[in-house]
């Protein structure tokens, strides 16, 4: 059984894909045209015009093979086992380069990922990882991981986020979201394992009163349960319950570089759609968006009173109105939409969908989640033993970071005050910390801050400032004196520094 290989510019993409669908999957010419226009073309239209495609037949795709052996092979119709893989390169490639090792570096520089086509007509778009560098529009920041792959016998790496469309029988939007989350985390961190559709089904069998295939979707609690079984300390946030804080919490987790499962729904608006997708990033924040950032308001009467009495103006970076980047199994990778219109990239039937829930796959030892962490920090700077000066105007940027990444960025940040840098790097920290950068609108427009608060994400006991590791703002540094067991305030001028941006990847080219 030979592998057929083709190289064509994306201009000839339609002809190539239609030929492959006919030759490899036995789809007739008319249907191949329909499938291309409906499913493949929307992907190709997002790619740069100088894209080249290398197509390989008889590709063994791990995700489809799992679905095949656990489901499709048990059906009467004969489904093929093999897939087609389309690999993408930015700029022209020629076949002889693959057999010339001196050309491999140049090929790697051009390599931008792949899409698998599976023989599950009409749901043919399978697993894919596309680098945002291939997109015509990539002015966003997002979670991404480096994946290893091979093309025409040569090993390559691509930096992107996993995507797959649903086949509607073994995987619906819910299972696809779980698969993509685990594919990302397992590739990035050794704490997690990749999962296949059959593993999701097996895991949820424990809590399902009905059969799992053909899939009828999953409810949010089932998705959360599956993530918990796969090693996460999952949290669920409902818009109805968190109301005014909901979007800010959503943004905070995205800013933390954690892909989150988002539930959108229009059933409360008379529709019948309930859909799961992933939020993995947001568009690049412009100066205008920071200027337009509204003042922080809260239903917390104590904080509101302090803000008023001390004439303090507070801004929350998470309240910046922006587009988020979604991985949606009904659309090509990296869709952008505001949270208020999460299905803005769909047709009219979907336009009245709202985000109703999101699920956060937290590292299991992050015991202090965003709602309480943000609340603690606000209380500390407004009502703590060393509160902000009266008449202050402050912008706070919250995010979760691994202490390793944070310290690494800190060590490389030559704008950070030297003494405080030493103290922070030499301070014992848990694996994850909550970081609050204290800034102003003007400073944030230059991507700078002049204060920082570090909170222990493993400390759920918020009383007596137990989660506080260190705070430095307005010429003071507050930290625990380990001998006396009390907090102490030190005079320290922390001048402006470049903010930390290690959580999300930039791609704009």
């Amino acid at each position: 059984m030979n592998i057929s290989v083709y190289i064509e510019p994306i201009l000839n993409g339609e002809e190539l894909v239609k030929k492959l669908l006919q030759d490899e999957f036995g789809i007739n010419e008319i249907n191949a045209g329909i499938l291309f226009n409906k499913l493949v073309k929307p992907h190709f239209e997002k790619f740069k015009d100088n894209t080249y495609i290398l197509a390989e037949t008889n590709y063994v795709d791990k995700v489809f093979r799992d679905s095949y052996y656990h489901y499709y092979s048990s059906k009467l119709p004969k489904y093929k086992r093999d897939c087609i893989r389309l690999s993408f390169f930015e700029d022209e490639i020629i076949d002889t380069s693959f057999f010339d090792h001196t050309q491999h570096k140049s090929l790697q520089e051009k390599y931008r990922g792949f899409i698998v086509l599976r023989p599950t007509d009409p749901f043919i778009i399978g697993r894919s990882i596309i680098s945002p560098l291939l997109l015509k529009t990539n002015n966003f920041v997002s979670c991404a991981s480096k994946f290893h792959t091979t093309v025409y016998g040569v090993k390559f790496t691509v930096n992107g986020f996993p995507h797959s469309s649903q086949d509607t029988e073994t995987i619906s939007c819910a299972e696809t979201s779980l698969w993509a989350i685990m594919e990302y985390f397992s590739n990035k961190y050794s704490d997690y394992q990749p999962i296949l559709p059959s593993k999701i089904i097996k895991t949820l069998n424990k809590v399902s009163s009905e059969r799992q295939v053909p899939s009828k979707g999953l409810n949010i609690a089932q998705m959360s349960f599956a993530l918990k079984e796969f090693g996460f300390g999952t949290r669920i946030y409902s818009k109805e319950e968190y109301s005014s804080e909901f979007e800010s919490l959503f943004s905070c987790y995205v800013e933390s570089g954690i892909p989150i499962i988002v539930a959108i729904d229009n059933r409360q608006n008379g529709g019948n759609i309930g859909h799961a997708l992933l939020a993995i990033g947001h568009d690049n924040i412009s100066v205008h968006q920071i200027t337009a950032l509204p003042q922080f308001t809260t239903t917390d009467s104590t904080l509101t009173q302090t803000l008023k009495t001390n004439n303090i103006t507070l801004y929350d970076y998470d309240n910046i109105i922006k587009d988020f980047v979604f991985i949606d199994d009904n659309h090509p990778s990296y869709q952008k939409a505001p949270l208020a219109i999460p299905a803005g990239h769909y047709g009219s039937e979907w336009q009245n969908c709202d985000v109703t829930f999101f699920i956060v796959p937290l590292y299991p030892k992050i015991y202090l989640e965003a709602y309480e962490a943000k609340n603690y920090v606000r209380n500390f700077i407004l009502n703590g033993p060393r509160p902000l000066n009266n008449d202050s105007e402050i912008l706070l940027r919250f995010y979760l970071a691994s202490s390793r990444s944070f310290k690494d960025s800190l060590a490389k940040n030559d704008s950070f005050q030297a003494d405080l840098k030493s103290i922070l790097i030499e301070t014992s920290m848990p694996k994850f910390i909550w970081v609050t950068e204290v800034s102003s609108k003007d400073l944030m427009k230059e991507k700078k801050a002049n204060g920082i608060i570090i909170v222990d994400a493993t400390e759920a006991n918020i009383y007596f400032n137990k989660p506080l590791i260190l705070a430095a703002y307005q010429d003071k540094m507050i930290l625990l004196n380990e001998i006396s067991g009390t907090l102490e305030s030190n005079t320290l001028d922390l001048h402006e520094y470049r903010i930390f941006e290690q959580n999300l990847n930039y791609f704009e080219s």
Binding site: E241, G274, E372, Y463, S489
Partner: protein, 65 residues
């Protein structure tokens, strides 16, 4: 001779020598921390209600599209 390169102890000792350190254990500080604790307790109770209601309703929303 083995040389210790970490600087935190020296920096903090220098700050103390220069009179830049204040212990936050005066009555005003303790009062602020106690009031903060009480407020955090109130917010935690609200959070626990939001959290449990989120979990209860989560089982009623099926995602299929």
């Amino acid at each position: 001779m083995i040389k210790k390169i970490s600087r935190t102890e020296a920096i903090r000792a220098k700050m103390k020598r220069e009179g830049k350190v204040t212990s936050l254990d005066a009555a005003g500080h303790i009062s602020a921390i106690t009031t903060m604790n009480e407020h955090l307790e109130t917010v935690r109770r609200e959070y626990q209600v939001k959290d449990s209601k989120s979990q209860i309703t989560a089982s009623t929303v099926i995602l299929t599209a």
